[in-house]
């Protein structure tokens, strides 16, 4: 029947997203953006994603600590005053820098019983309100989404700016 067919046809069109991204890719992109926001120093993002700056370890794990190069005077006879050699624990802590993810794993707090509050349980749950979409170019309300990369925009000017500069034609 013609009416039925058009209704089905329209329904199918409404349900067929033309080129939008899968939610996992959007989530991955958001996570990458948030990690970038946590970095101390900016460096050009590479395809593989850069680690945080290595500092003294850049020259192939040289066993030098920057704190040795300073001159200061602390009274007394503690190792810090350079009268004695530092203990093993302290030297290990100074030379082998671990990042936070490693430390969290080592501390085993994930395996504590659920009644114990830890770093993980303290995180606040997602909001009960839906997120508001703000235009990625000018920060006004973004009522429309880019067809290729699902970033919100507010009007045609911002859409043209977005597709010329930042649209991720090939989302990694």
């Amino acid at each position: 029947m013609p009416p039925k067919r058009t209704r089905e046809h329209h329904a199918r069109q409404a349900h067929a997203p033309a080129h939008t991204l899968a939610p996992e890719l959007i989530a991955k992109r958001t996570k990458r953006h948030l990690d970038e926001l946590e970095r101390s120093n900016y460096s050009e993002p590479t395809l593989l994603g850069d680690d945080d700056d290595e500092g003294g370890g850049r020259k192939g794990r040289a066993r030098q600590t920057i704190s040795d190069k300073r001159t200061f005077n602390i009274p007394g006879t503690s190792p810090a005053a350079k009268k004695k050699k530092s203990t093993m624990n302290v030297r290990t802590a100074l030379l082998y820098r671990k990042n936070l993810a490693t430390l969290i794993e080592e501390s085993n707090i994930a395996s504590l019983p659920p009644s114990v509050p830890t770093y993980f349980t303290a995180v606040v749950p997602p909001s009960s309100y839906p997120p508001r979409m703000l235009c990625s170019v000018c920060e006004f309300w973004g009522h429309y989404k880019c067809r290729r990369c699902s970033m919100p925009y507010c009007d045609l000017n911002c859409e043209s700016i977005h597709s010329e500069t930042r649209c991720e034609k090939r989302v990694i």
Partner: protein, 471 residues
């Protein structure tokens, strides 16, 4: 155990962005009794071609393109080398550690293996006579943030790395209800850098300058939709727009906001701050604006209070305090008050207290704590002798924090006998010492690790009794 006599107390409010430090209680070092704020970073300046450690940063002349090496990652100390370099600079000003008590702050939910390294540094490297490690919120009851004595309070600590909502009852933190939002000053500055770099000048390297701009220009809007409309429909002449004149480093002129009667030289570069002024601090209240799936600050406070005993919740709503540099945006308190009033029960008043200088409030509370008689006789301070005898277990026993606490009555030798019972203390011990060796106590605990694994089935019941005991 008798405490050694020390001449003075050194206070270190060890933040991720700045360290607030001073000496309490002795006039022998009058120069340092006053508060010093030291950058907690090792900063390399390409213009000056020097590296500044901590307090030396005051001598820096060229603020462009600074490379920061921060000891803290997400608020926890991971780079001990850089942290030691900064601490050496602070301690080197004629402090004799062997005669000094140290009061140092740590972040909330500090990891046990990191805490062990704190102990190692303080006792083995610097050889302080005794020290005490606390969280900033636990010092607040000693300070003057709340004008009257109150037993129930909620402290909102919004700093460089994250924001915590910390309820305090009878002077101790209710750890089950502490909540964390991963939005802090660092995230806001980096987000501002991104927005400005996309729209105007490329400022991705200029952390210091963008931080200045953020602190000078940004505010929290009470009416987000209305302000957005204002900025949109009148892009040049609205009441919100501000022009910031970027600092001129060749002439050593600082950056400033342009006043109406400022005459611009030709070489001045202008940064226009329009809706960035209020969209940036908005992230504290709506982290999902950038896709971070966490509740905003008002919702978090409501969630945290709802996990407290219901008959006391009214008192908690009426005693909310703000500390931390990130709360110093103009309009922060008013916006939070409006949002909380929609979430609080109808019969509860919502009262928010703030102080004149939120960055140093924890330090000032620490100062009044350190000079009080309670500190001088406190049993929570760990001395060098105790550390030499039982290693990091001494600090685990004495410092109250989120880990389940064993009772004070238990002596070290009794721990061997309690092996057979398989109670919750074993479970906690083995987990807590799982990572990183520390002092002398590790040999006892590692032999009990295997025992603890077999008794894991009883751990669930034991865990709940453990927390019940703690109440």
């Amino acid at each position: 155990m008798a405490r050694p006599r020390t001449t003075s107390t050194l206070i270190l409010d060890n933040g991720a962005s700045t360290i607030k430090t001073g000496i309490a209680g002795d006039e022998q070092y009058p120069r340092l009794s006053r508060l010093r704020i030291v950058q907690n970073a090792v900063i390399r300046s390409k213009g000056d071609k020097t590296t500044y450690f901590g307090h030396e940063f005051d001598n820096c002349r060229d603020y462009a393109s600074l490379h920061y090496r921060l000891p803290c990652e997400k608020g926890y100390i991971v780079d001990w080398d850089a942290q030691k370099a900064v601490w050496d600079g602070i301690f080197s000003e004629d402090i004799d550690p062997a005669q000094t008590t140290l009061l140092i702050t740590e972040p909330y939910f500090n990891l046990p293996n990191i805490q062990d390294v704190y102990d190692q540094f303080m006792f083995e490297e610097y050889e302080f006579a005794e020290y005490m490690r606390v969280t900033p919120a636990s010092l607040i009851p000693h300070g003057s943030l709340f004008p009257q004595e109150t037993e129930c309070m909620v402290v909102v600590d919004s700093g460089f790395s994250f924001t915590h909502v910390v309820p305090i009852m009878n002077g101790s933190i209710v750890w089950q209800a502490v909540k964390r939002i991963d939005v802090g000053g660092k995230l806001l500055t980096n987000h501002l850098k991104e927005l400005v770099s996309f729209r105007q000048w490329n400022m991705m390297d200029e952390t210091y300058i963008m931080n200045q701009i953020k602190e000078a220009c940004c505010f929290v809007s009470g009416d987000f939709a209305g302000d957005l409309r204002k900025c949109r429909y009148n892009p040049k002449g609205n009441s919100i727009i501000q022009e910031y004149i970027l600092p001129d480093l060749s002439k050593h002129r600082k950056g400033r906001i342009r006043m109406p009667d400022d005459i611009l030289a030709d070489t001045d570069q202008i940064l226009v701050m329009n809706n960035e002024r209020f969209c940036i601090p908005e992230l504290v209240f709506r982290p999902d604006d950038i896709g971070l799936e966490q509740t905003g600050l008002a919702g978090t406070i409501a969630l945290s209070i709802s996990q407290l005993p219901s008959d006391l919740q009214g008192m908690f709503w009426a005693n909310i305090g703000l500390i931390g540099g990130n709360t110093m945006f103009p309009g922060f308190r008013e916006r939070l008050l409006v949002e909380l009033q929609t979430l609080a029960p109808v019969d509860c008043d919502v009262v928010i207290y703030e102080c004149e200088d939120a960055i140093t409030e924890a330090y000032r509370a620490a100062y009044s704590f350190a000079t009080s008689s309670g500190f001088a006789h406190s049993t929570q301070v760990v001395t060098r002798a105790e550390y030499a005898e039982s290693g990091s277990n001494a600090s685990r026993r004495k410092f109250r924090d989120w880990k389940p606490h064993e009772t004070e009555k238990e002596k070290p030798s009794v721990r061997e006998a309690s092996k057979l019972k398989g109670k919750q203390k074993e479970d906690d011990r083995s987990h807590v010492t799982g990572g990183g060796g520390g002092g002398g106590g590790s040999t006892i605990n590692s032999s009990r690790l295997s025992k603890a694994r077999t008794t894991r089935t009883s751990a669930a019941a034991a865990g709940t009794t453990g927390s019940a005991k703690r109440r």
